[in-house]
Amino acid sequence: MGNLLEVNGLTTEFRTERGVVRAVNNISYHLNEGEILGIVGESGCGKSVSQLSIMQLIPSPPGKVVAGEVLFEGQDLLKYTKNSKEMCQVRGNKISMVFQEPMTSLNPAMTINKQMSEVLIEHKGVSKREAREVCIDMLGQVGVADPKRRADDFPHHMSGGMRQRVMVAMAMLCNPRLIIADEATTALDATIQAQLLELMYGIVNKYNTALVMVTHNLGVVARYANRINVMYAGRIVETGTVKEIWAKPMHPYTEGLLKCVPRLGEKLVAIKGMPPSLIGKPDTCPFLPRCKDRQQCCFENPLPKPTLVDGQHYTSCMVRLEGMA
């Protein structure tokens, strides 16, 4: 068992004036209890949309999850409608999210205590006074100094790092099984980012909570994640444990991504070209136009499903797979 979350064939589309954008294209992955999964990719590759689809937070219209299933603790979340009782019991309670912008995701007109208590009163049915105590305790745990006083502050009284701590505290309130951190530390300064990452890492380890880190920062993933999914143009092109992928990347895009990060004394190798538009794309490998190792077979066949290399390492690159056989 151990599978907390299993995503099969998830596909999300957006209707736009210029055509249908397939932001997430038939992705499948799983997540174990207490595991930290990193999802990396460039902007527009569908990493955030895939997570929002799981939580049913895609604005519809224009967006729609058109296919796939999301099995969370054995139940298919996509069977529930967006605002159904079942979905609301999962969202914020068993799965919670931390977003990138701490300013826009907190309500500026409510005190910290009030908006945190709301979660507890809704999900746990506790009284206001009990909720306040839990909130203050949680604020203390995420390192907010003098939590009793800060609980009555408004979000604008706090710095960016503090607000993001409040977001983490809020996500932890109901002791969820899974936290999705969507670029949670991207907007923060380097030293504050380090504080917050250590904090989140400590908390998920303490409570054995699974964590999905959506990020474009490979360094963050390298340090904290167990496994990573590399996404490109709405698809997962490679997945494996962090060590497997760094030791032996099996997709040209992953290779390029790893080489793009500056290291002293090495010439940077940039990936040529740009990520493709997601409108009316053919079924072939989306990385094809930028790939340096492409061969005839790449043009002729549709992109295969990620295939096992060894261990937990899967890749969808035909050329690399053939090279192995």
Partner: protein, 325 residues
């Protein structure tokens, strides 16, 4: 000394804070509080620090977008720090800027060629339409853009291409100094590598071109810079050549900043210990006495809160401002 492109001597920039009906001055934000450095021809000086440390203000003072409160800026032998707007024009063409956000830095109603060529017209560097277009085509090719794109509008370019356009514009008057203010922060990883490589290639082609490269990304700064200065709350705390600074980091803030930056390699990350700073950056409206870093410094001594440490040479072209050495 006299051969350097820019000499900045004890630069200070204090912004008044005005409040109330009569806009009375109630305080000062000490954005830069005594910064000195110089840039030699063909050299790249990296300026790193967290948001609000004054690194952008330094860049804007050097290009005289701000008139500094105190101190001298000697650009190619003449003191421009308090020169009149009229006189400064002839110096302005020798320096230019590349901004962070390629979306707001370009006028959406101008053709790409006019964005690039506007300065050529202003400084009357070309005569006639033919020469104008030839020069622009040359700049486009130099920046890795196709001259066919000359008649496009900025919205028709991708983020990376817009940043190339910005760079083409900054090269138009054949400057000796380009101030790059976070030129890669708004771009994706693979685009960042392309832009860094472009900047480096341009310097190889024009050996006298100097950059002031402002960024919070330590890895990028390390990659592109010959010398690096670390700023904290309006002061330079450490400055050295990039090899020395990263190999032999002396100031506790630089050490923390460096360790906060995750290294994108799981093998390194496993063995590396991190220094996690506590607290937030103090406000420059009311900075701490003495060494501004003493409130967060793990090594703070009583004298740190009393006197400001001077930037002293510790040998090997390495300058540090710390009492604890």
């Amino acid at each position: 000394m006299s051969q350097s492109i820019v000499d900045v001597v004890d630069l200070k920039m204090h912004f008044p804070v005005k409040r109330g009906f009569f806009r009375r001055k109630v305080g000062e934000v000490k954005a830069i509080d005594g910064v000195s450095f110089s840039i030699n021809p063909g050299e790249t000086l990296g300026l790193v620090g967290e948001s609000g440390c004054g690194k952008t203000t330094v860049g804007r003072c050097i290009t005289r977008l701000y008139r500094p409160s105190e101190g001298q800026i000697i650009f190619e032998g003449s003191d421009i720090s308090h020169m009149s707007e009229h006189k400064i024009r002839q110096h302005r063409k020798r320096m230019s800027l590349v901004f962070q956000d390629p979306y707001s830095a370009l006028n959406p109603r101008m053709h790409a060629k006019d964005i690039v060529g506007e300065t050529l017209k202003t400084h009357k560097l070309v005569s006639g339409k033919k020469e104008y277009e030839e020069r622009i085509a040359e700049l486009f090719i130099m920046s890795g853009l196709s001259p066919d794109m000359m008649d496009r509008y900025p919205h028709e370019f991708s983020g990376g291409q817009r940043q190339r356009l910005s760079i083409a514009r900054s090269l138009a008057c054949d400057p000796t100094l380009i101030v790059c203010d976070e030129p890669i922060s708004a771009l994706d990883v693979s685009m960042q590598a392309q832009i860094l490589n472009l900047l480096q290639e341009l310097q190889e082609k024009k050996p006298n071109l100097s950059y002031l490269f402002i960024s919070h990304d330590l890895l990028a700064v390390q990659y592109i810079s010959h010398r690096v200065a670390v700023m904290y709350l309006g002061r330079i705390v450490e400055m050295s050549n990039s090899v020395e600074l990263y190999a032999n980091t002396l100031h506790p803030y630089s050490q923390a900043l460096l360790s906060a930056q995750p290294v994108p390699d799981p093998v390194v990350e496993e063995t590396r210990s991190r220094i996690i700073l506590t607290g937030d950056v103090p406000t420059p409206l009311n900075p701490p006495n003495g060494c501004t870093f003493h409130t967060r410094c793990p090594r703070a001594k009583p004298e740190c809160s009393a006197t400001v440490p001077a930037l002293v040479d510790v040998g090997n072209d390495h300058f540090v401002a710390c009492h604890c050495l």
